[in-house]
């Protein structure tokens, strides 16, 4: 017992600890169930005989998923969108964040308002669609990289980071050397700001990987589909979709058999689609937390 803890506090501790444990279990169990269900014999899963560990270990579902081409085209495309889109968006965001972080920038207020307005009011779906269409971006790799490519929130996060990292003496030294902002930003500020660079790459990358609505609107040729659009056809329905029939066509079984195989294969698809982002999160967790924390500091 710690000094200063009253009896009431011990009750409090017991209650909070149990609540936290229950919360963790509620989050983990569905994820754990998906893992064991994906490894089990479909028959056991569908009969509700799988609860705590896999039964009748069966990896044929994974084999079939690995041979399903559209999923891998989506994988490749999403990797492209996440890496290239993430890089371009981060670069533009960081560049714009620097002037906004300087209190001696005469356009600071005007540009902040210019950006802030778009957070609360937009032209809407169709006007944006018309513009993107007119730019010839529909059904190109550029569509998902351009549309929604810069997040105002990220810009503000980056600029508040720069504000707290900036070193006035070094900036003045740069001024005297005639480098001014270019030299200061690229030679001094950016090299000591690696955390924010990583945070931006991660935020934009994960967002590109997980977003699906823009793809639904601007892409209708499968060769450009990101993984989420492929997944939608496979997962977001309790019916057998066209994509599922194709995926299962190696089996010449009856419809009921197909339905069963389809249901159980979804577990494997969820694993294959979600593991990269969850791993990225686990490895680089402190950057994600840092990013949110920076965003929540007002001003």
């Amino acid at each position: 017992m710690k000094i200063g803890e009253t009896g009431q506090d011990r009750v409090f501790n017991a209650v909070t600890y149990s609540c936290i444990i229950v919360a963790c279990l509620l989050v983990l169990y569905p994820l754990y169930f998906i893992v064991i269900a994906s490894l089990s014999d479909p028959q056991y899963v569908l009969n509700g005989e799988v609860f705590l560990w896999p039964r009748g270990l069966n990896l044929s579902g994974y084999g079939r998923i690995l041979r399903y081409k559209p999923l891998w085209v989506g994988y490749r495309n999403s990797l492209f969108y996440a890496v290239v889109g993430g890089f371009l968006s981060s670069a533009l965001t960081l560049l714009a964040a620097y002037p906004l972080s300087r209190s001696d920038f005469s356009g600071r207020k005007a540009f902040t308002a210019f950006l802030l307005i778009t957070m609360f009011f937009s032209g809407g779906l169709i006007p944006q669609y018309i513009v993107v269409n007119a730019l010839g971006l529909r059904n190109t790799y550029g569509a998902l990289i351009a549309v929604g490519g810069i997040h105002v929130m990220n810009l503000f996060i980056a600029s508040s980071f720069f504000r707290s990292t900036s070193i006035t003496e070094l900036y003045e030294a740069c001024q005297l050397d005639g480098y001014a902002h270019f030299g200061y930003f690229f030679k001094i500020l950016l090299p000591i700001s690696t955390p924010i660079v990583i945070v931006m790459l991660l935020f934009y990358g994960v967002w590109q990987w997980n977003d699906f609505f823009r793809a639904l609107i601007y892409l209708d040729k499968p060769e450009f589909y990101p993984i989420q659009l492929v997944l939608r056809d496979l997962l977001a329905s309790s019916q057998i979709t066209g994509a599922m029939v194709e995926l299962l066509s190696e089996d010449q079984g009856a419809y009921a058999e197909m339905l069963k195989a389809a249901e159980s294969m979804k577990y494997g698809i969820i694993i294959v689609a979600s593991v990269p982002m969850l791993l990225l999160y686990l490895v680089l967790q402190r950057y994600f937390v840092k990013g949110i924390t920076m965003g929540s500091v007002k001003g």
Binding site: T16, C24, V45, G48, F111, H181, R232
Partner: protein
């Protein structure tokens, strides 16, 4: 002393103090926002015109408020309003407390390991895409083989078609949000809790305050600005309930509950290609949102002295 004229002052700032470089830094983003955000704002005029892709926006004939009248007199108007506001309020009331409670509990956890573990676990679902999340809902809620119905059957209860039910739709929508984003939002509250002055806790401990009293007397007042800001942002998006998720969760059987502004704008606009009508509905939605935000912000400034701007 002679006063320098405006032109010279500007020149001094831009050239001698190298401010032109700062403008160059921000230029790409400004161009980007003009093209992808501000030009579409001009496109709103098609809500007042009979636009079709074969004509230009400029060349389309004006129709005044025709599309607004059409929308207000259609049966969809009431249904969309009700569904969207209901879902929004439900989400606001139910989802909002969870992250706050989780953050306060984690803040009083003495064990560093447990706090870290719980944070890692609860934040993780945020990284699952919305498509996969809805896929999971369909899987777990499947009437024939879903885990939940299998358990219900074992308990002797008749199976429920969760994803094909108007009554279940709002609950599933909101509680899956709780599952996915409680940990994520809790981090924001935790961050503002770390800013609380530690001497306040010490003083309270000496005075014999219990942890519960500390929460209500120290923590909640300290993070009030964060709470209010986040509530304001939520209210300002009242008619912007997550369209992606609603669209994905839609089935023919839950359409009466799941059709909201966002999904309807998408369908009318891109599936039925009624560009002007869709834009009119969208504009109505945006204007209401903006009005709500301004009102709530003003009210909040009066009552709590917290505001977004």
């Amino acid at each position: 002393m002679e006063r320098p004229n405006t032109l010279e002052r500007i020149k001094k700032r831009l050239i001698d103090r190298h401010e032109w470089q700062l403008y160059l830094f921000i230029l790409p983003v400004v161009v980007f926002f003009i093209i992808l955000h501000y030009v579409p704002m001009y496109g709103i005029v098609i809500a007042f015109k009979r636009y079709s892709p074969s004509r230009t926006i400029w060349g389309s004939p004006w129709v005044g408020l025709l599309y607004f009248e059409k929308f207000f007199s259609s049966a969809m108007f009431g249904q969309l309003m009700w569904n969207t506001i209901y879902l929004s309020f439900y989400q606001l009331l139910v989802f909002f407390p969870f992250p706050l409670i989780l953050a306060l509990m984690l803040n009083y956890t003495n064990s560093k390991g447990m706090k870290g573990f719980a944070q890692t676990v609860t934040y993780a679902p945020h990284f699952i895409s919305i498509v996969v999340l809805v896929g999971m809902l369909f899987l777990f809620g499947s009437p024939s083989s879903g885990l939940i119905n299998v358990l219900l059957k074992k308990a002797g209860i008749e199976s429920v078609n969760f994803m094909g039910s108007n009554a279940w739709f709002p609950h599933i929508f909101v509680f899956s949000q709780v599952w996915q984003n409680t940990g994520y939002q809790a981090i924001i509250f935790l961050a503002s809790l770390t800013a609380v002055d530690l001497s306040l806790y010490e003083a309270a401990t000496i005075d014999g305050a219990t942890k519960l009293q500390k929460i209500f007397k120290i923590d909640i007042p300290a993070i009030m600005p964060t709470i209010v800001t986040m509530l304001l942002l939520q209210v300002g998006k009242m008619l912007n309930v997550d369209t992606q998720k609603a669209l994905l969760m839609q089935t023919a059987l839950n359409l009466d509950a799941s059709e909201i502004f966002g999904t309807y704008v998408y369908k009318i606009g891109l599936i039925d290609a009624q560009f002007s009508y869709s834009t009119a509905i969208n504009l109505f939605q945006n204007v209401i949102n903006l009005a709500l935000l301004v009102c709530v912000n003003a009210a909040s400034r009066k009552l709590t002295e917290e505001s977004l701007w």
